[in-house]
């Protein structure tokens, strides 16, 4: 079967004024269709850069990225992906419902209100439906972005720290929803700094640092003899020193 995501020898650079910052280097990984996959790493490891390259937000300087065999950036690849960005987005003039309708339209879907209502319901945002996005709290904005990533029922969902700033109760609701989406066949790639969440949810895990993979395996194999994923993570990362 074609993998959901195939990355080969990826290299991502940021061109600064008098310097080149390498954010991802010779990184290869394959994620199968239907996986719930954790992408972990300390701050500045290159997770967001990798995700941004997958959705063609930033260019990459080497290697290839294929989404269900479609090169990243092509229409076919873009249709497959839903992205929940790490940074909150604030749509100044529009309500939650308006934005979700517009984004549905961007994907070529007309009359998507049923799906939008379902997502708002699941993410407990029904009462915020007609509020301006700029008036939502941080956690509500985060959930609105999750709904936005799902309006077109993507085959792959990229969650870049979806639980940051979301309260305990809603985090439970969020993870239940994520598990359900995954059970229905959606491939999910998750970055988070709550390692116990990753340990509980994800069968496979990749740990990266300084733009390179340190480990990629079944989560319990990565934990191996350590107490939990956090300990294993710290042990792997500590060897390498702080990020530039």
């Amino acid at each position: 079967m074609t993998p959901a995501l195939h990355i080969q020898d990826l290299r991502i650079e940021y061109r600064l004024k008098d310097d080149v910052k390498v954010a991802v280097e010779r990184l290869s990984l394959t994620i199968e269709h239907g996986e719930l996959f954790a992408l972990l790493g300390p701050n500045g490891a290159g997770k967001t850069s990798m995700i941004s390259a997958m959705v063609s937000l930033i260019p990459f300087q080497g290697g290839e990225i294929k989404i269900f065999d479609h090169p990243a950036g092509t229409v076919a690849a873009k249709k497959c992906i839903g992205l929940v960005p790490q940074e909150l987005v604030s749509y100044g003039f529009f309500t939650v419902n308006e934005i979700l309708q517009f984004v549905s339209g961007y994907y070529g879907i007309l009359n998507n209100q049923k799906r939008i209502d379902y997502l708002l319901e699941r993410l407990q945002l029904q009462s915020q439906k007609n509020k301006l996005v700029s008036q939502l709290s941080g956690g509500m904005k985060r959930r609105m972005l999750i709904a936005k990533a799902l309006v077109h029922s993507p085959k792959i969902l990229l969650l870049d720290e979806p639980s940051a700033g979301v309260d305990v109760e809603l985090r439970t609701i969020l993870w239940d929803f994520v598990k359900e989406l995954n059970a229905s066949g959606m491939t999910i790639i998750l970055t988070t700094h709550y390692l116990e969440e990753a340990q509980r949810l994800c069968k496979r895990t990749a740990i990266m640092d300084h733009g390179k993979l340190l480990a990629m395996d079944y989560t319990d194999k990565i934990i191996a003899d350590e107490k939990n994923l956090e300990e294993a993570f710290l042990k792997l990362v500590k060897k390498r020193g702080p990020n530039a």
Binding site: L57, I58, K78, V89, S90, F93, F102, G105, Y106, Y107
Partner: protein
């Protein structure tokens, strides 16, 4: 040709862009109207007794097409430039890069929204102008070529909407947009014959003015409304279309290669 899905996407961007300026219409539609009304009152009413008729029209009548053009062009430019700028601040410009929409359609949707705003503002200014002429001179100003008015307005707004897209992408602050507007666009507009007939200029300056694309748009609009202008209508149309093509390429390049990153 775009397929159905792409058309739906295009319409969504267009709808969002139109709704964006309409939601803040006090700033985007009414404030330019008041601006133009001030010009009409200050220049039109007070100067029309002093300034001799231009091209055979009272100064107020002469002024109206120029003011309508100025308001339309300026607003067309502000529309795309500030929309893109605000989207970069909020971070939602990234949406357009992630979704499966072609650069052509995104650019087209932005420009059409600029045209819509420009036409609404121009129509409002024209209406005000008609009112002033009626109150002062006792007759409505006849519109010589209504289709020409729409045509030149659309061409002019397309040019300025395209420029606005480019400026929106290369600017990093609102000050950059203001600098472009104040140092380049407004002088071109003011020197393009809004307030005076080019015929009163020294021949050297008349030659210089022929390089100002605004001269052709403003004169095209003046020809449409009054039936007379400094530059012949076909030449105005030709130059305008040429500039739509040039600025269109610039806008397309900006949408394709510009940065969508928030800052």
């Amino acid at each position: 040709m775009p397929n159905l899905e792409e058309w739906i996407g295009f319409q969504s961007v267009l709808k969002k862009e139109i709704l964006r300026f309409w939601k803040v219409k006090s700033q985007t539609v009414f404030s330019p109207m008041i601006n133009a009304a001030l010009y009409l009152v200050v220049f039109g009413l007070s100067l029309s007794n002093v300034v001799p008729p231009q091209n055979g029209f009272s100064y107020t009548e002469f002024l109206i097409p120029g003011l309508a053009a100025m308001a339309a062009l300026n607003n067309a430019l502000q529309n795309s430039a500030s929309s893109i700028m605000i989207s970069k601040f909020h971070g939602d410009l990234q949406d357009l890069r992630i979704v499966p929409l072609s650069h052509n359609l995104i650019a087209l949707a932005y420009v059409i929204a600029c045209i819509v705003r420009g036409v609404i503002v121009a129509a409002a200014v024209l209406f005000l102008g008609e009112l002033v002429v009626f109150l002062k001179e006792g007759h409505w100003m006849a519109i010589a070529h209504p289709q020409g008015f729409i045509l030149f307005l659309c061409l002019g707004c397309a040019i300025f909407g395209n420029l606005g897209i480019w400026i929106g992408f290369i600017s990093r602050t609102f000050d950059h947009i203001a600098a472009f507007t104040n140092f380049i666009i407004l002088p071109l507009i003011y020197l393009g014959g809004v307030f005076f007939s080019l015929k009163i200029l020294h021949p050297t300056w008349q030659t210089v003015a022929t390089f100002n694309p605004l001269v052709y748009i403003i004169n095209g609009i003046r020809w449409s409304l009054l039936g007379a202008s400094d530059v012949s209508a076909p030449l105005c149309a030709l130059v305008s279309v040429l500039f739509v093509a040039i600025t269109g390429a610039l806008a397309w390049y900006s949408v394709k290669y510009g940065s969508y990153q928030r800052f």
